[in-house]
C-alpha cells in the first residue's frame, strides 16, 4: 500500500488587516504578508506608495506619523524597500514592503522606488543610506548622494553580489602597495 501524498493546498490569501482595509477603502490595493512580530506587514505597488503613506500619516484615526526606518533588503528574487511606520500617539505599527523584481531591473541599472523625502524630511537620510548601501534609487529625492561611504565608492556593499575592493594595504596582490 502506498500512501497517497496530497499536493499542498494553495494557501488562501490572508484577510486584510486594519491598515490594509483602510487603504482599500481609499482605493489602494495591498497584499498582506504574515505578520512580523505582531506588526501588520503589507506589500504595496511602487506607484501607490506616495499616496498610501500620505493617507496613513495624515488621517486622524490611523496617524502613523513616526517613520522608524527605511531599510533596503536584497532578497533572492527582488530588492525590497522596507518601511517601518509607528505612531507617536498610539501603539499602531505597520511594515510596508515595496518590491523591485530583479527580472524587471534593466541591466546595469539600479532599481527605482519613489521617494517620500519630499514631504517627510526624516526619510531623507534613510533613503540616502539605502541608496548608498543597498543601491535603490529613490526617484524624486532632493539630494540622492552617498551618505556613509565616500562619494566615489564603487558598488553597493549590502548587495549579495558585492565584491570587496582589493585591499591595497594588506593584500598580497601584485597591484597593492607592498
Amino acid at each position: 500500500m502506498s500512501t497517497e501524498t496530497k499536493p499542498p493546498e494553495p494557501q488562501a490569501p490572508l484577510p486584510a488587516g486594519q491598515y490594509g482595509q483602510f487603504l482599500s477603502e481609499h482605493g489602494i490595493n495591498s497584499e498582506r504578508l504574515p505578520d512580523s512580530l505582531g506588526a501588520e506587514t503589507i506589500v504595496l505597488a511602487k506607484q501607490d506608495l506616495d499616496s498610501a503613506i500620505k493617507l496613513l500619516r495624515n488621517s486622524s484615526e490611523i496617524n502613523l506619523d513616526l517613520l522608524i526606518t527605511i531599510s533596503g533588503v536584497d532578497m533572492a528574487d527582488s530588492i525590497d524597500a522596507v518601511y517601518h511606520l509607528w505612531s507617536y500617539s498610539h501603539k499602531g505599527e505597520l511594515v510596508i514592503k515595496v518590491r523591485a523584481l530583479k527580472t524587471e531591473i534593466p541591466q546595469d541599472q539600479l532599481p527605482t522606488v519613489p521617494s517620500i523625502a519630499r514631504f517627510w524630511p526624516s526619510a531623507n537620510w534613510h533613503e540616502r543610506e539605502t541608496y548608498d548601501l543597498v543601491g535603490i534609487r529613490f526617484t524624486g529625492h532632493p539630494y540622492m548622494r552617498r551618505i556613509l561611504n565616500p562619494w566615489d565608492w564603487d558598488g553597493h556593499p549590502l548587495r549579495r553580489d558585492y565584491k570587496q575592493p582589493v585591499d591595497c594595504l594588506n593584500d598580497k596582490n601584485p597591484h597593492s602597495f607592498r
Binding site: 512580530l37 526606518t69 517627510w120 526624516s122 537620510w125 556613509l148 556593499p157
Partner: protein, 377 residues
Amino acid sequence: MATEFQDRVDLKTDEMIINMGPQHPATHGVLRLLLNLDGETVKHVEPVLGHLHRAQEWQGQNRTWFQYQALIDRVDYLSGMFTSWAMARACESIDGMVVPPRAEYLRVIVGEMNRITSHLLWLGTYLIDLGAMFGFPFYPFREREKLFDLFEEIAGQRMMYNYIRIGGVLRDPKPQWFDKLSKFLDEFPDRIDEYEAIVTENPIFLNRTKGIGILKQSVAKDYAVTGPCARCSGIPIDLRKDKPYSIYPEIEFESIGYNKDGDTWDRYMARILEMRESIKIIRQCLAKIPEGDIIAKKQAAGMRVKAGEGFAAVESPRGILGCYVISTGTDKPYRFRWRNPSFCNLSVLPELLVGAPIADIMAIFGSIDVILPDVDR
C-alpha cells in the same frame, strides 16, 4: 548684514562657507559641518557623515550570530547594553524564546546603570562644549568610574560589555555586587544635587542655554526625533511606557518630559531628572529580583536563530534604538539593520542651527546628545 560702516564705504558682503570639523574637539566623534555664514549668523548647514563608518550592517551579515554579538556594543559605545538588548530582543522574539525573570531584572538593572553612565558622560562633555571645565575629567566622571567598576565585575569590560546575550545575560553577579550597587545608589542622589548646585542655576549656563535651539513639536515629529529631545518638545514618547517590554510594566516610574519650551536647558534638565528616575528603577529591581536561571539556553559558537524576520526596539538614553533582523535559519544573519536614535536626531540639526550665531552651534549640537559612532555605524 549692512552696518553703518558699509553704508559709508559701499562695501559688498557675501556669504562665507566654513568647514567645521571633522577633527573638532566638540563634535563627540568625527562630524563635519559645512556652514554657510552671513557674518556670525548661520544661514545653511550641511552635515557630512561617514567618517566613522565601520560597516556594522555588512559585518553583521558576514559573521555568525555568536561572533557578531561581540561587535554590536561598538554601534553605540556609550550605551552598549542597549544595543545588545535590542538585538537580543529581536532574536528572542523570532526564536520564540522566553527569557528567565532573573535575567530580565538584571537586564533592567544594567540598562538603567548604563543610562546613568551615558547621561553622566553627556553632562561632562556638554559643559566642556560650553567652555566650563566642570565636566570631562571632574565631577561626573567620578561617579561614572564607580559604575564602570561594577560593570567590570559582571562583564569583564568597562565599556564594551557583551553582557546581554540572546536568551538572557552572561553572568550572575555575586551578592556583594548588589551591596556595592545599593551603596552607590545611596550616595548618588547627593552627587546629582552637587552637579545641580554648580550648573542648573548658574547664570552663565542659563545665558548660554535658555531659549536657544528650540525644537518645535511639529519639527520633531517631521524628523522622527525620539528620546529626551522629543519628550522635551512635548511629545510623550517613551517605549518603556508606550510599548512596555521586559519588566518595565511592573515598575513604577515616570517618563520624564520636561516640556516647558523645548530649548537646550530643558534637554539638560530632562537628563538630570532621568538619572534620578533611573535610581528609582534600579532600587525597585534590587528589592524585587527573584532567584533562578539567568539564560534560557546556553550559547555555543554555532548557535542559530530560527528563520523569520522582525523589528525590536528599546528605549536607549538617546531615543528609540531598534534592530531589524532577517534570519534564514543559517548560522549567519541574512540582514541586519540598525535604527539608531542619533542618526535620526542628528538630521534635525540643520533646522535648529539656521539663524543661530556660530557660538551657539556647539551648545545646540551638544544638547541633542548625538554619538557619532551611532550615526555612522
